[in-house]
Amino acid sequence: MPPAIPLPRRAQLTGSRIRDRRLMQGLRQADLAAKAGISASYLNLIEHNRRRIGGKLLVAIARALEVEPATLSEGADATLSEVLHRAAQDMRSRVDPPPEVEMIDALSGRFPGWTGLIVAQHKRTAGLEALVDGLRDRLRHDPVLAESMHEVLSTVAAIRSTADILVREPNLEAPWRARFHRNLHEEAERLSARATAMLAHFENTVPEGSGPSTPLETVEALFEAADHHFPAIEAGGAAAIPQLLAQTAGMTDAATRDLVTRMLEDYARDAARLPLDRMMPAAMAVDFAPDRLLHLGQGDAALVLRRLACLPRESDGSGAPEVGLAICDGAGALLFRRRLAGFAIPRFGAGCPLWPLYGALHRPGQPLAAVLDMPSGAQFQAWAVSQPVAQAGFGAAPVMRATMLLRALAPDTDTPTALPRIAAGPGCHACARSDCPARSMIGPGA
């Protein structure tokens, strides 16, 4: 198994980068909006990643901020070198000999055109993969689409059966013949309407340009835009939530607002139990190793994992390392995720059955740790624990929740030999391990 290559800090969203640049320059939203020729409220939506931005408007905003458009769309942190590192990691197990990552600087210096091509192709591939993942999630779990599909196929079934009778029954009585002709006409009209409705649904669900659409997607976008760290709540507790919501676009929907409020209240509770001024120095002293911080949770290991997933990271890469987080209920349904580059955590459905997240559900209260070898060749350290979050009563099983923290294993670090290694994947629906014993019966290799 080739060692993984460290990933650069994940690129932020375009809207967040615009906001960062504006604040750095001390501009008010109204000032930048006026320079770019848009309303302040529209800029607010862009900055909170509620509206996609590109083309002329991106150029206008970049000009107003006196930066290159690519700095906003690709991020100052997404340098050529970092993207090449990522490209090398993604394809490491598929090319022989592996990419000479130590020569990246020499490559980009001598062949800027070819380097640009590699970067452009890598970004395009990543974009297409994300689109495919999104559409696959939708197709598998979209109840509206399932119902539309059933309606269309029912109409086709009616047409097929009726047409078959008309063709195969030459002596069909006239009243029946007239009746079936009328039915055919009706069904043809219905098919037209239903097919059109289904296509409209597809158009509405294509991710590009649509932005977050469900409350959970909006929550995820909010947390991602904040890099999962809310200084105002760290400092002021739950009292800071109303102000935070007031500054956040997309909170007009009651369900979204309720969900965001609940998630931020959970965040505030965690911050109160394990404050940043206690957590951060302790974590830095042990290189953010969860197993050496368990005592801080005073019996609540999940609290420690959650807090490690929302520590501040600096723009120069210092501070807390990049981590991923997945939380699931006792049935394995994913409730929350913090995405980590190179490690796909599905929004809907199940992840890999071999993840310690699920193993922890079978060993309540016992923290688990493992090294995950992914099909791409990347390695991740995982720490997981399941704990009761509510009691259903005497004699009844408690309501359980499992939490898993993930961190990419740097290539220059030895794989921890004390930890079990698991040949894991992103989940059966997208996994390349065709001979995996845990492969789902309904997976692509079944």
């Binding site: 599909m149 079934a157 078959d164 029946w176 079936f180 309904i442």
Partner: protein, 135 residues
């Protein structure tokens, strides 16, 4: 004596087409278009075989099947489920809950007739009563 089949399907034109088809094949056909009252219709009509659509207004075909299998009076009633193509999860669920057969829409009339004849054998109905259905 002809076998009695109940079609639980909310698409009126499917109901009419397959009702016609099965009548011509010798079945005594009844139709019902609502999931919520399907169990009452089954109780009243006492079919020998049931054709059950998956998606119905009021109550899903899977829920109806689950209730049928939990009731001693109907636990052995042969059931043909109609599912939409591509919904493999529905099909697997239907078989796990005890459906005797399933067809995916759009199905062919020949498939439907043949499957119903197979289910007639499950129900121990007299083959000779079928127009062309002797085994």
């Amino acid at each position: 004596m002809p076998g009695r089949v109940l079609l639980v399907e909310d698409e009126a034109n499917i109901l009419e087409a397959i009702g016609f088809l099965l009548s011509r094949d010798g079945w005594d056909v009844s139709g019902h278009g609502n999931g919520a009252t399907a169990l009452e219709a089954i109780d009243r009509l006492e079919p020998d075989v049931l054709v059950l659509d998956m998606m119905l207004p009021g109550k899903s075909g899977l829920d109806i099947l689950r209730d049928l299998r939990a009731n001693p009076a109907t636990e052995a009633l042969p059931v043909l489920m109609l599912t939409a193509k591509g919904q493999t999860r529905d099909r697997d669920m239907a078989l796990a809950l005890g459906a005797n057969a399933f067809l995916t829409k759009p199905f062919s009339n020949t498939e439907l007739v043949e499957t119903l004849r197979d289910l007639a054998r499950v129900a121990n109905l007299d083959d000779a009563a079928w127009k062309g259905g002797a085994a």
